[in-house]
């Protein structure tokens, strides 16, 4: 496999292809006639998926830094360049994106009935921009892609959504755009400081890492970036856009939203917040705040999820709880926590994506999402019930599924540093059963007492093609996460080393200041 990939020069072009090919796909999609457009879009994204699979072998698991890097100047006078790269943190996010994009396009075959061409074109743009977010190694480029994801999502919710779609779409757009504006200010300040330090403005990630920042500066910048990412994740109390967006979005929109859009926030934490502002990220107040918010998110949203009557809203709330585990793992600031957080991200992408798919399939059959409208469906749709139960179990982190590996490692990591908070967070495993099982029971078990439910069809072949790989991944990762962990470990180590160095620098500086009290951080205030 590796030889074949080398032969075609895979690592030279793959990253660009993953961004540009979906965008090019707009042409055939808009060209195709209304009946065949979905097939065109699906096969197009399937080819992208297959191309992205090569990353598994082409990626060198021994290297911690960026791989397959390339940089082309874009706006030279500002130091902006079109530069891409991939490392152990973004690798799985990219693969998750291409995977869930294909899956969700396949899942929209029945759901999207009108205006198909623009829909699939928007899906492809969305895919390209999310991949761009994960691959960009230039902050300008990153910001462009980060904001670009909003546009197709806005239209997907606003045009193909449910009854309150306009409210949800605007709420989604404004909430997240508002958060990221502060990040833009932060980026600009960072570039300004880089210009002072290097002499020329630069947006390149690797250059910005070199810029020395005082503790106060880091705290402010951290705040600006963290706000943008926290809204995206979302961290309590910035989560209220999520249930609305999820409930109103069409199934494929929900899948992409849950599977990858939320991950952009936690990815931002790992890629930018921790390495760029290591002092702020280790500041006890900051860490405690983030952890407390994560723990509140885990427990609080689990409780709220438990009393929802709308199945989709329930799953939307559980997303917040899961992402709380990611934040918990990230701010454990150690190997177990960070890798656990990454696995939760992957697992949540798969399992919550699958839950939304399943609920979408249920909605297509019954045109309702009210839990009480269902009951006893396992009797008429055994495959459906099996897939749902496997997915639900992954979602609540039963061992033997991917959900357990992630949550276990994240909690294990967090426990090393923050015992009490982690203790409370661990209660989340109880709450997970408390919100998920009653829903499963009321939908799939209990008496089959409604005639409409009696007529529900089991999974079709197409739906099986969608769900089988998802379920297989959940179980495979649950029993053998080591290949994933192996690939992410070096990159996570790099982040941690960066944090350690900052601590050392900090100490050195404090000692220097103690020796020479007259030397203050010149011009930094």
């Amino acid at each position: 496999m590796t030889a074949l990939l080398d032969f075609v020069g895979y690592s030279g072009w793959v990253l660009h292809t993953l961004i540009w090919m979906p965008i090019l796909g707009i042409i055939p999609v808009l060209w195709a006639d209304e009946q065949r457009v979905k097939h065109v879009a699906f096969w197009w994204s399937a080819v992208v998926l297959i191309l992205s699979l090569g990353l598994w072998w082409a990626f060198d698991p021994t290297v911690g830094g960026m791989q397959m890097e390339s940089a082309t100047p874009w706006i030279e006078s500002w130091g902006v360049s079109y530069s891409l790269g991939i490392d152990g943190i973004s690798l799985f996010m990219v693969m998750l994106t291409t995977f869930s994009a294909s899956i969700s396009i396949l899942a929209s075959f029945n759901y999207i009935q009108d205006r198909q061409r623009p829909f699939y074109a928007l899906m492809l743009i969305l895919q390209a921009s999310v991949v761009g977010v994960f691959l960009a190694t230039d902050l300008f480029l990153f910001y462009v892609f980060f904001e670009l994801t909003l546009v197709p999502m806005y239209f997907i919710i606003g045009i193909w959504g449910g009854t309150r779609r306009i409210y949800a779409a605007i709420k989604f757009f404004l909430y997240t755009a508002l958060g990221s504006l502060l990040m833009l200010v932060g980026i600009l300040y960072l570039v300004y400081r880089a210009k002072m330090f290097i002499g020329a403005p630069t947006f390149a990630y690797s250059n910005l890492l070199q810029v020395p920042l005082s503790g106060t500066e880091q705290l402010w910048l951290f705040g600006a970036f963290a706000l943008a990412f926290s809204v995206k994740i979302p961290v309590f109390p910035f989560h209220t856009w999520l249930p609305d967006a999820h409930v109103e979005a069409p199934t494929p929109g929900s899948v992409i939203l849950a599977a990858v859009l939320l991950k952009m926030g936690t990815y931002g934490f790992l890629r930018f917040l921790l390495p760029l502002f290591p002092i702020a990220a280790q500041h006890p107040v900051v860490v405690t705040t983030m952890l407390v918010l994560a723990v509140i998110g885990i427990i609080y949203t689990a409780c709220v999820a438990a009393v929802q009557s709308d199945a989709k809203k329930l799953v939307a709330y559980t997303s917040v709880a899961h992402m709380g585990f990611v934040v918990l793992g990230v701010f454990a600031l150690n190997l177990n926590g960070l890798q656990g957080g990454l696995i939760v991200m992957i697992s949540h992408g798969i399992s919550t994506g699958a839950l939304f798919l399943l609920l979408g399939m249920l909605y297509e059959r019954r045109h309702t999402r009210e839990i009480q409208e269902f009951g006893g469906i396992a009797r008429v749709a055994p495959w459906f019930a099996t897939a749902f139960v496997i997915t639900a179990l992954t979602s609540i982190g039963v061992p033997g599924t991917s959900g357990f590996i992630g949550e276990f490692l994240a909690l294990l990591g967090a426990f090393e540093t923050h015992k009490v908070l982690t203790l409370i967070a661990t209660l989340g495993v109880i709450f997970a059963a408390y919100y998920m099982l009653p829903m499963v029971q009321r939908v799939f078990f209990n008496p089959l007492d409604k005639q409409e439910n009696r007529e529900i069809e089991d999974l079709s072949k197409r739906e099986l093609v969608i769900l089988v790989p998802l379920c297989a991944l959940m179980i495979w990762i649950g029993w053998n996460p080591t290949p994933l962990l192996d690939r992410m470990e070096p990159s996570v180590q790099v982040v941690l080393e960066r944090l350690d160095e900052a601590t050392l620098e900090d100490q050195a500086r404090v000692e220097d200041e103690a020796n020479e009290p007259q030397v203050v951080d010149g011009g930094q205030e």
């Binding site: 009797r379 061992p399 990591g413 661990t426 408390y434 209990n446 007529e455 470990e489 180590q493």
Partner: protein, 714 residues
């Protein structure tokens, strides 16, 4: 490293031992294969029945001799894999018997989790404890699978039932054979999951479905404790593998606070899984599942996992007197509490359920007083006689159900008030169940006598140890344990009398259809009855051996010696810190005396209550009088479910609603929408200046120009 779920691919860790394992991976793998085959059959079968249901009917299985393949194959596959697994386990057991194996034999298959800071191998550990548990699980499991072939034959979900059952065995084996806490936890939650699926096996029934859910959620509370314990252990030792962890743990200081925390959290997990106070509430409800499931999961294997956990972690418990006292205390209280409830239950399975809770309490007393071997001993004998009791009850229910079904009677086939006089129709069931009743009551020479008596005796002995931490406490435990033993003998006799003796209350027509079960069901009963008699003889205390109760030179403290490699560290720690255990009970008398006293008490109770109850006139449910006073409280299980509902469940739901309706919808979204509202309001106010009157604009323009002019001039 990445070989498949390796069959016989081994990395021998220790070269010194001569122990040669015999395909140990297959023991775990076989039930998994069984699960996959049965699962595939179940899905196919369910598809067929789904199309029938969709048309508004039920799937007709057809003639008994033309059953579809999905209905016949599981009868061979499921017990078949169990039998092979049991045979392989026996070979391993025999090989281990023939060599002196001191250190556990660990076989690694692949690296399960490796983050760089934390590594767990997918490895199984073969040692005296795990092989014993494996033998019990596969052996009793096989018999129960066999019984199920008869019991579940007419059920529409036949292949699904066996797929769950096989999956359960798989996870149970992971639990007992796993070489580290996380792997054990996989099995731990896995069996919980299967228990959930099997309790709610008839998921179309809301109550049964609820029971399954309750079991899972309550178990998860325990799992929370298990998780925290693992985190603490990892912080202390940097590893969660048994072998390195315990060897490091042995050097810890006695009474270490951290160890106490770890062991208490572990015990929370054990209490959840093994249905101890305060988490026992799920087990009685779990009786909603098919009766063989209750026998396998809720009597013989899964619920004893907590005892296994404590025994496995014996080093840690030995280090913590507080945790050990808690374990024993909770155990003895549960034993008494559940026994009191069992006195007044009318549902045959409910009696057995509370009896199980009570017996599990005894096991915890055993491991709590440092008699780890005794705890495991009781686990084993209990697996035999309680599985037998449940299977017997299953046979009764099967027969009752059959006859009530034939006559279109809607009476409850599990209510003992509808039974009576079944002895005439089901002699084998009657006989074997009496054997089990003698065993559980602790009557010599049945199995339960030896195991239960040892636990009770060890409690007294431990309390009398030279430096016992809380001597008074253990004396109280001892007395309670004795009282609970008498209660056990009483409620078991009551159950037997109500079911098998006295006049028949089933109904004139119905009685004609009562039959003894087919051989596939009574053969397991006979086998288990045999074990319920002889299993106790593998561990006869030294002191009893000298007397008639020792059965002469046949026996010895075999189990105790066998488990010595596992428990020796714990015993060493205890001896070091507590001194020698007492030879005398609190009121005087040695081991032999009290063994005689307890078996006599049990026998007298059985005989007396038999005579007394047989003359009592039991009424059928419709005519039964309203209970009052203590009886009513006992019948309603001390209202614990109601109290939990009032104190925990309802407040939780209410606060959840509050979070959603008030905090989320009002406070947070209020702020968000408020920001939007403020922006719009500001815009509205400012837009008031746009009057639309051109002159107004021109006026403002002029004023503005004048001001600028004025500022620039002056």
């Amino acid at each position: 490293m990445y070989n498949a779920l390796g069959v016989g691919i081994q990395e021998t860790v220790e070269t010194a031992t001569q122990f040669q394992p015999f395909f140990p991976g297959l023991i775990i793998l076989l039930p998994l294969i069984g699960f996959l085959i049965n699962g595939a059959l179940a899905l196919r079968h369910a598809q067929a029945s789904a199309s029938a249901v969709r048309l508004g009917g039920e799937l007709d299985l057809g003639e008994a001799d033309h059953l579809p393949a999905t209905h016949t194959l599981p009868s061979y596959v499921a017990p078949g894999v169990m039998l092979v697994a049991f045979l392989i386990a026996s070979v391993n057991f025999a090989r281990m018997l023939s060599v002196e194996l001191h250190d556990p034999h660990v076989i690694e298959y692949w690296t399960w989790i490796a983050t760089g800071a934390f590594t767990v191998e997918a490895a199984i550990q073969l040692d005296q404890l795990s092989i014993l548990m494996t033998m019990i699980v596969t052996g009793v499991g096989f018999l129960i699978h066999l019984f199920s072939v008869g019991y579940m034959r007419d059920d529409a979900g036949y292949p699904r039932y066996f797929s769950y059952l096989n999956l359960f065995i798989f996870f149970m084996l992971v639990l007992v054979m796993g070489a580290s806490y996380p792997l054990m936890f996989v099995g731990w939650e896995g069996v919980g999951l299967c228990s959930y699926l099997l309790i709610g096996f008839w998921f179309s029934d809301r109550e049964k479905s609820d029971a399954g859910k309750k079991a899972f959620i309550v178990n998860r509370i325990g799992d929370f404790g298990f998780l925290i314990a693992m985190f603490l252990l990892f912080g202390m030792f940097g590893t969660l593998d048994f072998v390195p962890l315990f060897s490091q743990a042995a050097d810890l200081e006695y009474g270490n606070g951290l160890v106490t925390a770890v062991t208490l959290f572990l015990f929370l997990g054990a209490a959840g899984k093994s249905a101890q106070i305060p988490l026992y509430v799920w087990l009685p409800d779990a009786m909603a599942g098919p009766t063989p499931v209750s026998a396998l999961i809720h009597a013989a294997t899964m619920v004893t996992a907590g005892v296994y956990l404590v025994a496995r972690s014996s080093v840690l418990y030995a280090l913590s007197p507080i945790a050990s006292a808690t374990v024993a205390g909770v155990g003895v209280l549960t034993a008494l509490f559940a026994a009191t409830i069992a006195l007044k239950q009318n549902d045959i399975k409910k009696v057995l359920a509370y009896s199980t809770v009570s017996q599990l309490g005894y096991m915890f007393v055993g491991v709590g007083v440092g008699a780890y071997a005794a705890g495991i001993f009781h686990l084993m004998t209990h697996a035999f006689f309680k599985a037998l009791l449940f299977l017997g009850a299953g046979a009764v229910i099967h027969s009752m159900h059959h006859s009530l079904h034939r006559t279109n009677n809607h009476k409850d086939p599990q209510d003992m008030r509808n039974m009576g006089g079944l002895r005439a129709f089901m002699p084998i069931t009657w006989g074997t169940m009496w054997v089990a009743t003698f065993a559980i009551s602790g009557i010599w020479p049945f199995a339960g006598f030896f195991s239960k008596d040892e636990i009770i005796w060890q409690t007294a002995a431990f309390g009398g140890a030279a430096k016992a931490p809380y001597p008074m406490l253990y004396q109280v435990y001892w007395v309670i344990a004795l009282v609970a033993a008498i209660l056990t003998a009483f409620y078991m006799t009551r159950m037997m009398v109500m079911t098998f003796h006295g006049a028949s209350r089933t109904g004139v027509e119905e009685v004609k259809h009562l039959r003894e079960s087919p051989p596939v069901m009574w053969i397991p009963l006979i086998a288990l009855a045999l074990f319920s008699v002889v299993a106790g003889w593998i561990n006869v205390p030294e002191a009893l051996r000298e007397t008639f109760m020792g059965l002469g030179p046949l026996t010895g403290e075999w189990l105790h010696d066998w488990l010595e490699p596992i428990t020796e560290q714990a015993h060493h720690i205890q001896e070091l810190n507590l001194g020698e255990v007492a030879e005398q009970a609190p009121f005087g008398g040695g081991e032999v005396t009290w063994a005689l006293v307890s078996t006599t008490l049990a026998l007298v109770t059985v005989l007396a209550s038999f005579q007394f109850l047989r003359r009592q006139n039991v009424k059928v449910p419709a005519e039964d009088t309203e209970l009052s006073g203590l009886s009513k409280v006992l019948y309603n299980k001390w209202y614990v479910d109601e109290i939990y509902d009032r104190l925990i469940v309802q407040p939780l739901i209410k606060s959840s609603r509050f979070c959603w309706k008030v905090i989320d919808a009002k406070v947070i979204d209020g702020v968000v929408n408020g920001v939007g509202w403020v922006a719009r309001a500001l815009g509205f106010v400012v837009s008031m200046f746009q009057t639309g009157t051109v002159n107004m604009y021109a006026f403002v323009l002029t004023i503005g120009a004048l001001i600028i002019l004025g500022v620039s001039v002056f």
